[in-house]
C-alpha cells in the first residue's frame, strides 16, 4: 500500500519582497494527519510560508500544492479545505462571538441550520458556548485567542494553519489551546504550527522543520533532529572567573559555549560523566552549580546557525 499523498507539497519555493528573499528554495512534504511544526526566529520566513500555503501571497518560484489533490496553493479548492489561525485576533471585536462566527462561516457557503450547527460545535469545543452573545471585546485575551481558533474550524478544514496562535496568551489559556489542538490532531486534522518557542514545538509537533533566513535547515521528528547533535547531554554552569579554568580544561573533551552568563558543555559521545565530576571536584566547584539536561531544539538551532532562537 502506497503512502498517502502529502497534504502540502512544496518544491523549491521562492518568495521575494523587493531585494529581500524571504523564502529561498523551500522544499517539504507534510502528510495528512501530521502535527507539523515550523520553528524559527522572527523574520525566518515562517509567516511567509504560511501565507503562501494559505494563498494570501503568490510564489515567485517553485511549486506548492495543498490539500493532497495537487491543487495549487491559493486555488479555490485549496482554500476551501484549510483553516487559518492568524497571528492577530482577526475578529470583529465589537460584535458578539456568534455574530463573528456567522460572518466567517458564511464565507464558506455555510448557512441556515448547517451554519448554526457548526457555530454550536466550535463554541462548545473552545468552551465559549455560554459567552456566545457577548461582544468579543469583553473577552479576556485567552478567550479571544480561543475564539480566533474556533473561527478557523467552522469549515471543518483538512488542514489547519496556526501562525503563532498563542502570542500574548497566559499559560492557562495556552495549555487549553494546546490540548484542544492535540485533540483535533488526534481526530485526524493536519496542523501546521509556526512558532519561535522551542517548548511549543517540542510539546506539540510530531515533526518539525527548522527554518532560518528563508531556508529549511533541518527537518524531521524531534528524535531525528536531536540525533543530529554531536552530544547526548548538555551540562550547564555559571560562567565567570571561578569557572574559567574549568571551561579551558573541558574544551579538550567536547564543546564549551558561553551564552547569557552560562557555560554549556557538550561532551563528545562516549565521554563518561564520572570524569567530568572528577574534574569539577579538582577545581573545588560544588555539584549544585551544575545542571545536566538532554539536548534541545534550541541547542540544535544554535548548532546549525550559531544563534539562539531569540536573536
Amino acid at each position: 500500500m502506497s503512502p498517502p499523498s502529502p497534504i502540502v507539497s512544496a518544491k523549491g519555493v521562492v518568495k521575494r519582497f523587493g531585494p529581500v528573499t524571504a523564502l529561498d528554495g523551500v522544499s517539504l512534504d507534510i502528510a495528512p494527519g501530521e502535527f507539523f511544526g515550523l520553528l524559527g526566529p522572527n523574520g525566518a520566513g515562517k509567516s511567509t510560508l504560511m501565507s503562501l500555503i494559505s494563498g494570501l501571497k503568490s510564489l515567485d518560484g517553485g511549486t506548492l500544492n495543498v490539500n493532497g489533490e495537487g491543487a495549487a496553493a491559493g486555488s479555490a479548492g485549496a482554500r476551501r479545505s484549510l483553516g487559518l489561525v492568524p497571528q492577530h485576533i482577526a475578529l470583529y471585536t465589537d460584535l458578539s462571538a456568534e455574530a463573528n462566527l456567522r460572518i466567517f462561516g458564511g464565507l464558506y457557503g455555510l448557512r441556515g441550520r448547517a451554519l448554526e450547527g457548526r457555530i454550536d460545535s466550535v463554541l462548545e469545543a473552545v468552551q465559549l458556548a455560554d459567552r456566545r452573545r457577548d461582544p468579543v471585546k469583553a473577552f479576556s485575551g485567552g478567550m479571544q485567542r480561543r475564539l480566533n481558533l474556533a473561527a478557523s474550524l467552522l469549515n471543518e478544514p483538512r488542514l489547519l494553519l496556526c501562525d503563532e496562535p498563542t502570542v500574548g496568551v497566559d499559560p492557562q489559556s495556552r495549555n487549553a489551546i494546546f490540548e484542544f489542538l492535540k485533540e483535533r490532531n488526534r481526530a485526524g486534522l493536519t496542523i501546521i504550527y509556526s512558532t519561535h518557542y522551542m517548548e511549543e514545538a517540542t510539546r506539540l509537533c510530531s515533526r518539525i522543520g527548522i527554518i532560518d533566513h528563508g531556508r529549511i535547515l533541518a527537518l524531521g521528528t524531534i528524535d531525528e533532529l536531536l540525533a543530529r547533535l554531536p552530544f547526548e547531554e548538555e551540562i550547564r554552569y555559571p560562567s565567570g572567573p571561578a569557572t574559567a579554568a574549568l571551561a579551558a580544561e573541558l574544551a579538550a573533551f567536547g564543546e564549551v559555549a558561553s551564552l547569557d552568563g552560562t557555560d554549556r558543555f557538550r561532551p563528545r559521545p562516549g565521554y563518561p560523566l564520572s570524569s567530568f565530576y572528577a574534574i569539577t571536584e579538582r577545581h573545588g566547584l560544588a555539584p549544585r552549580l551544575f545542571t545536566s539536561q538532554r539536548p534541545t531544539l534550541e541547542a540544535l538551532f544554535l548548532q546549525l546557525t550559531g544563534r539562539t532562537l531569540r536573536e
Partner: protein, 448 residues
C-alpha cells in the same frame, strides 16, 4: 516642561516620518488659498466673474435693439449667446422657442428677448422679456444687477424713440416732423450746434437724456430716483423657466452642496476602514477562505453605496421636515440621483484608500481632495464665478454633476429623459473611479 518637550519632539518625529502628512501640511493651505483667490479674483487686473452665459434673442429690427445687444456683449461678466448650434454644427439665430429646452439642459440660465414690439405702442416706454433659471441665488442676483444696469443705460435713447413713436401716432408724421424741425432750429439758435444734427438725434430718440453730448439732463441710472423713474418706463416680463413652484428656494438651492460634502467625508471615512481590517488580520482570515480580493472590494462598494443612499435620504428628509424642501413628488428621480451620487462618492473613497499607504495618509489625502473638489465643483460658490479653466475642471468633478442632478430634480423638476445625461455621467465617473481603485488595490499590498 521637559516631559512635554519630549512628547512634542516625538510628535514632530512621527510627522516627519510621514511624507504624505508633510506634503499635505503645506499643500492643503496653499491650494485652498489659491482657489479662494481665483474665485474672488484677488489681485486680478480684471476683477469679478466672467463668462456667465446669457442668451439674447433679437426679434426687433430697431437699431437700438442691436445697440442693446452690443452693450450686453461689452459687459465683461456676461458671455452673450445669440446663435443656436445645429447638430451638424451649422448655426442660426436663436429663437425664443429654443430658450426653454436649452435652459432646462443648463446651456445657460438667463436669457433676454428683445421683442418686435420693443418700443411700446400702447404708451410711453419699452418692453422686454427675460427668461431665468435662478437655481443659484448669488449668480441670479448678479446677472439681474448687470442686466438692469445695462438696460437702464440704454433706456433714455429707447425712451426718446418711444415718445417719438407715440407722438407720430397721435399727431401724424407730417406734423411731428414740422415740430421736430422747429424745435431743432430753436435749440440750435439758443444753445448753439447744428440744427440738422439735433434733428437727427431727436428722430433717433436722443434728447440728451443718455448723455449724448448736450449736457442737458444727463440720466444717471445709478441714482435711486432715476432708477425708479426708469423702472416705471421699462416693462420687463420675467419668465422663470424652473424653480417657480419650489416652496423653499434657498434650502433647495443649497442642499446639493451640503449633501455632497457630507457624503464625501462620510464615505471616504468608511472606505478607510479597510486599513483597520488589514491591521487586525481579518483580511488574512477572509482571503484564506474562498472569498477573493474582488469580493472584498465589491462588498465594500455595495455597503458604501447603500450607506450613502440611506444617509442622503435621511438628509433630504430632514431638509423637508426642517426647511420645507419638497421631495415628495420628485422622490423616484431623487432616489436615482442619490443612488448614483452615493455610488460615485463610494468609488471616490475607495480610490483614496487604494492610493494611500496608511489610514492616516488616506484621511489627509481625502480631506485635501474633498475640499478642493467641493470648491472647484461649485459646492461653495457658483462655478460661473470662477476662472474659465477652473470652470472646465469643475465639470470633471463628481461634486459638480451630483449637484447638477440634485438641482435638476429638486429645482427644475426634470423628467427622466432630462436627467439621464447627468445620471450617465455620474455612472461613468463611478465606473472609472472604481476601475482605478480595483487596479490599485490589486497592485497594492493592503491585502497582504
Amino acid at each position: 516642561m521637559h516631559t512635554i518637550l519630549v512628547l512634542v519632539r516625538k510628535d514632530f518625529a512621527l510627522l516627519f516620518r510621514d511624507k504624505v502628512s508633510i506634503s499635505l501640511t503645506f499643500l492643503v493651505p496653499f491650494v485652498l488659498i489659491y482657489l479662494f483667490g481665483q474665485v474672488f479674483h484677488v489681485n486680478s487686473k480684471d476683477p469679478g466673474p466672467s463668462g456667465i452665459p446669457i442668451a439674447v434673442v433679437r426679434q426687433s429690427d430697431d437699431p437700438a435693439a442691436a445697440r442693446l445687444v452690443e452693450a450686453l456683449q461689452a459687459v465683461k461678466p456676461l458671455r452673450v449667446v445669440t446663435e443656436f448650434v445645429n447638430p451638424d454644427k451649422s448655426t442660426r439665430p436663436l429663437a425664443e422657442g429654443d430658450l426653454r429646452p436649452l435652459m432646462r439642459a443648463d446651456a445657460f440660465r438667463f436669457a433676454l428677448v428683445i421683442p418686435a414690439d420693443l418700443i411700446r405702442q400702447d404708451g410711453i416706454g419699452i418692453h422686454l422679456r427675460t427668461y431665468s433659471n435662478p437655481r443659484n441665488e448669488v449668480e441670479a442676483q448678479m446677472v439681474n444687477g448687470i442686466l438692469q444696469r445695462t438696460l437702464f443705460s440704454s433706456v433714455p435713447e429707447l425712451l426718446g424713440r418711444s415718445l417719438q413713436a407715440r407722438a407720430r401716432a397721435a399727431v401724424g408724421g407730417e406734423r411731428l416732423d414740422r415740430f421736430n424741425d422747429a424745435v431743432a432750429a430753436s435749440v440750435a439758435r439758443t444753445f448753439g450746434g447744428d440744427a440738422a444734427d439735433i434733428r437727427a438725434r431727436m428722430a433717433a430718440g436722443s434728447f440728451g437724456l443718455g448723455g449724448a453730448g448736450t449736457g442737458v439732463g444727463t440720466a444717471q441710472p445709478d441714482r435711486p430716483a432715476v432708477r425708479d423713474f426708469l423702472s416705471s418706463l421699462v416693462k420687463v416680463e420675467d419668465i422663470q423657466v424652473a424653480g417657480k413652484d419650489v416652496k423653499s428656494p434657498s434650502a433647495t438651492m443649497l442642499v446639493g452642496g451640503w449633501a455632497m460634502q457630507f457624503l464625501l467625508f462620510a464615505l471616504t471615512a468608511s472606505a478607510t476602514a479597510l486599513f483597520s481590517e488589514k491591521a487586525s488580520g481579518i483580511f488574512q482570515r477572509v482571503l484564506s477562505s474562498p472569498a477573493t480580493r474582488s469580493d472584498i472590494l465589491w462588498s465594500k462598494f455595495i455597503y458604501g453605496a447603500i450607506l450613502g443612499l440611506v444617509q442622503l435620504m435621511v438628509l433630504f428628509l430632514a431638509g423637508q421636515l426642517l426647511y420645507g424642501i419638497e421631495i415628495g413628488p420628485q422622490f423616484p428621480h431623487l432616489l436615482l440621483v442619490c443612488v448614483v451620487a452615493a455610488s460615485a462618492c463610494t468609488a471616490f473613497g475607495m480610490l483614496i484608500a487604494s492610493v494611500s499607504p496608511t489610514a492616516e495618509a488616506a484621511r489627509g489625502i481625502s480631506t485635501f481632495v474633498i475640499l478642493v473638489t467641493c470648491a472647484v465643483g461649485g459646492a461653495w460658490f457658483p462655478v460661473s464665478f470662477m476662472p474659465e479653466f477652473i470652470q472646465k475642471c469643475s465639470r470633471l468633478t463628481l461634486v459638480y454633476w451630483s449637484m447638477e442632478g440634485f438641482s435638476q430634480v429638486l429645482w427644475s423638476h426634470a423628467s427622466l429623459a432630462e436627467l439621464l445625461p447627468t445620471l450617465g455621467r455620474l455612472a461613468a465617473m463611478t465606473a472609472a473611479l472604481m476601475a482605478l481603485a480595483v487596479w490599485r488595490f490589486r497592485r497594492g499590498r493592503i491585502f497582504e
